[in-house]
Symmetry: C2
Subunit: 154 residues, 2 copies
């Protein structure tokens, strides 16, 4: 095995083969969970949370408090009913969000953060704020990049 190559640039700290492949059989109670490992349950959770819509929903619930379905749809610009439903179900299923149905007519359904969801929302919110703060800078970098990569070809 050519481990020397990996050492050159300092890689390969996560997934030392055992974690990457294992983590299914035998990683029940110990914190052998590793988001980098394809088969690890934590990766599955991460994939569900590291998503545009889920994050925006969490941010909206965190910033504006409990909201009903249609409010969320208005708050999270551009989300389709299908994706909103799906993301909310995921969040509900994982114990991050509470769904409360008021059996009125027309039906009223209110979503709110559970403690676990609030915890996560507080990690996600900074990410949204950072993006807003740095968006113009990144946009500028893009233009520079595009100029540098489309221009010199001529």
């Amino acid at each position: 095995m050519t481990t020397e190559e990996a050492a050159q640039t300092g890689a390969g700290r996560h997934q030392e083969q055992d974690r990457a492949q294992g983590c299914g059989p035998g990683c029940g109670q110990e914190q052998e969970l590793d988001v980098f490992a394809q088969l690890c349950p934590s990766r599955e959770m991460f994939a569900e949370l590291a998503d545009k819509w889920s994050m925006l929903i969490l941010m909206s619930l965190s910033a504006c408090g409990p909201q009903r379905f249609s409010e969320l749809q208005r708050a999270v610009g551009g989300v389709s009913r299908k994706m909103l439903t799906q993301s909310l179900r995921h969040l509900e299923r994982s114990g991050l969000v509470l769904r409360t149905v008021f059996p009125e007519t027309p039906p009223r359904v209110v979503y709110d953060l559970l403690p676990l969801g609030r915890e996560l929302a507080e990690l996600v919110a900074p990410l949204g704020r950072w993006t807003e703060r740095r968006a113009l800078q990144m946009l500028a970098a893009r233009e520079e990049f595009d100029a540098a990569h489309a221009g010199p070809a001529q």
Copy 2:
């Protein structure tokens, strides 16, 4: 307009119509950027960053330092070459990651975080760690949810 309804549960703080629709024309220098607004440039950036692969790449580069293409592919379990290339290009284009080609044979390409990327990685890493810490708890919530929603139907 039925604004009273929105007020009931306390929604609609972001995107007061002007921000949601505008933000394209006329929001150049002011921080009118809003990730919740579908057409806002910051939303576009957010959508690119709030992604499984981009986040895992940032986390890997942050945790293990500069890495070459194939190292990243091994580190980020399950990523396809196509998605790895695409995500890295996005990150490079936005000024988060530096791509360095060493014209040796076989070719060697090393990716590293730029200051902007390091900043973001430091917000993303806690999210990964949180997921690992809470994964089992969320998994348990799932089972409970599934039991409560599949069982009673019978």
